[in-house]
Subunit: 419 residues, 2 copies
């Protein structure tokens, strides 16, 4: 079964919104063994939408998001009616859902809300309990079309409802995916190490994908569960893989939420295994390392807490950094991060503490400490190690923060794995 994901919206084409809907939908379809052959993003123009809907006839399933709002630039519903050769009618249940939703927010129905209750006469309605735009499931020739709103938190539960209908009407072959995490090996070295193993794997009908994210690489085996013993075959290959990788193998098959940091997940899992606790003192990363860790379910087993010491005052008052240290060396210095890490380790009473202070930019850089300069200090039990990172002043604030988060987490992982 093959699918097209069609996202409609000018906001995606001018880059104001990141298309997280596509990855979420792709993941859900994948879990059901539905192969997403293509993702297309088109603008809010009738001809673009019609053309993409027509292209959708090549597939068994088309999931459409966006263009269902009450405003003039939202034309998906009318375009779908034209494509399906259908008309729009007011749906009483949808109208009542909208009324109730508005009432729960203390609002009355207006003309535009009322138009939201119009749906294609031949569609199956997918109810929306979190917004005013209903979803619709329709069929044209052999292709099922599902139209959903573009607001992610409305779309997600509606997609699940719609896919239940799809599943109940078809019997689909399942795909088995297994993902293995490899740390500290460049992709090209890894590929050479795996060459023989990979050749045998491919001949056995198992597809292998490399999903690199800096020096953490996810290796994903995928195979149709068409025959008995598929799982066992994959497990045998996995055992071989672990032997080849040695200490570079750092985890497997961890469930991934769409916006969680895979490295943070590995760090949390390894800390949990080793029964170690961690705390953070963050300045330039401003809570981003703590946020990455706490997005992982179960982080509370290993993460005690952190201090975001964004001002010098807080570095002094909460973490005990000396005024003289700040005066003589500045907040972005070896001396400061070492006092920060001692302060937070003492405050939080943990096995491991990491401190970060740097210049994320775009302003605040100097000749000696350009934008991108980041000091970190890592304290494990009683031993302190301190490092200077230069992420490069040509980079964005976003990239520098992201790099500091990645390098901080990678450093912790290396040390607890004794790399």
């Amino acid at each position: 079964m093959k699918a097209l994901i069609l996202n409609i919206g000018d906001e995606l084409l001018i880059g104001q919104v990141v298309n997280t809907n596509a990855s979420y939908i792709a993941k859900q379809l994948n879990l059901l063994g539905i192969e997403v052959k293509e993702i297309r993003v088109v603008n809010d123009e009738q001809s673009s939408i019609l053309n993409a809907l027509e292209e959708g006839q090549k597939y068994n399933l088309v999931i459409i998001t966006g263009g269902l709002g009450p405003t003039k630039d939202d034309i998906t519903k009318h375009t779908l009616a034209e494509f399906m050769d259908d008309t729009l009618i007011e749906d009483k249940m949808v109208l009542s859902d909208i009324e109730q939703l508005l009432a729960s927010r203390g609002r009355a129905m207006n003309e535009l809300n009322k138009q939201q209750a119009l749906v294609l006469s031949q569609c199956k309605v997918i109810r929306n309990f979190l917004g005013t735009a209903p979803g619709m499931l329709m069929k044209k020739n052999q292709t099922v079309y599902i139209s959903l709103p573009g607001v992610p938190f409305e779309m997600k539960p509606m997609l699940n409802e719609a896919l239940k209908i799809v599943v109940s009407e078809l019997s689909l072959p399942a795909i088995l995916h297994k993902t293995y995490f490899v740390f500290g090996l460049p992709e090209s070295e890894l590929a050479l190490k795996l060459e023989d193993w990979e050749n045998r794997l491919t001949k056995d009908g198992i597809k292998l994908a490399y999903l690199p994210n800096r020096n953490l690489i996810r290796l994903r085996m995928s195979v149709y569960q068409s025959e008995e013993g598929t799982l066992k075959k994959v497990q045998t290959y996995a055992e071989e893989l672990k032997n080849i990788l040695g200490k570079h193998f750092v985890g497997e098959d961890l469930f991934e939420q769409s916006d969680e940091n895979p490295l943070a997940r590995v760090v949390v899992n390894v800390l949990k295994e080793k029964k170690l606790s961690i705390a953070l003192a963050e300045s330039c990363t401003g809570g981003s390392i703590a946020a990455a860790i706490t997005k992982i379910a179960g982080a509370s087993d290993v993460f005690k807490g952190g201090v975001v010491s964004y001002s010098n005052e807080i570095k002094q008052r909460v973490l005990g950094v000396q005024e003289n240290t700040l005066k003589n060396y500045g907040a972005v210095s070896k001396e400061c991060v070492e006092e920060m890490v001692r302060g937070v380790k003492n405050l939080m009473q943990v096995d491991i503490a990491l401190s970060v202070s740097g210049i994320a930019g775009p302003t605040g850089g100097t000749a000696n400490k350009p934008v991108g300069t980041v000091w970190m200090s890592l304290m494990i039990n009683d031993s302190i190690e301190t490092k200077l990172f230069q992420f490069g002043e040509q980079y964005s604030r976003e990239y520098i923060i992201e790099s500091a988060v990645f390098n901080g987490l990678a450093w912790v992982l290396k040390r607890i794995l004794n790399f």
Copy 2:
């Protein structure tokens, strides 16, 4: 000038990676007045790639990312050679770039690295100083094709280099975009309020888009700068808009980084205007509110710091929450968040403090306090207000954290704007 963005990679089609490249590229093209007509994501199969490259002939520019790694599933370069009817040759400069990059990381060249130096014989090379895959700029008939690696931090500087070449060879009409932030008005009410204004705007050749994100809506006016006085015309409409919106107008034309939170930007700007400082005590959001605020350049003017009190111990030791409070009411309670907010306000010496404690799930919920239960307390000067949010136990950890971040920021904004 019209463009297609073509992202190649199975990882995008199974949803393991969010396509941030597409939004980044779209934003850069938009700034240059190049209209992105479509974004397509296809898999690492030759026929899919060839088909999309052929479709690209409809446009002036095709930006391709992905499939340039050294592994077997990366076939973009060979496919491009076939499409362009060209051959791959080793480029000496690229080979030397790769050697230097590897040397800087203390690594020697292997066979796979060496193959990375192969480029199309007719292409213009876009050098990669941060990875081993070179970029290429080629032309077929009237269409310029640019191939870049899929790793975002490698792709970004290379895209800028490639676009300099595109710009220098063509003269493009500029598009003027102005964005206005509207807070606290539902989209349908806003649309009714703006109906007349919007009709006149459209007749004047200005396109209007609604970009909603819960109860923050960005209104974007877009117009080709074909004639003199375009900016003035837009400014006149903007003044009218501000009058219509009154206090719901909360900002304009704020530069947006791709992963910054627009509401956090508005909060930082309004705090700055009002010369107010803020601090946070976060439990279930685990630093995500601090991270959203500190991603905004200039946040240090208003944000002093935060405590991520992920364990009860830290709530007591750092924030001064009473042991009895935790024993009698638990960490997710009115009493606890009120002690947290007093504690952090006192510790950080700020005008405004916000505390958050809740159950993000997936485990930890009870009958009385299901997953999704979040208490927040907001202290402005000496007055404390406390609220219970129930985000719904049917939601993911990710959604609950995101909802808490949004609602916390929105609450701060409402209070400082006296809504």
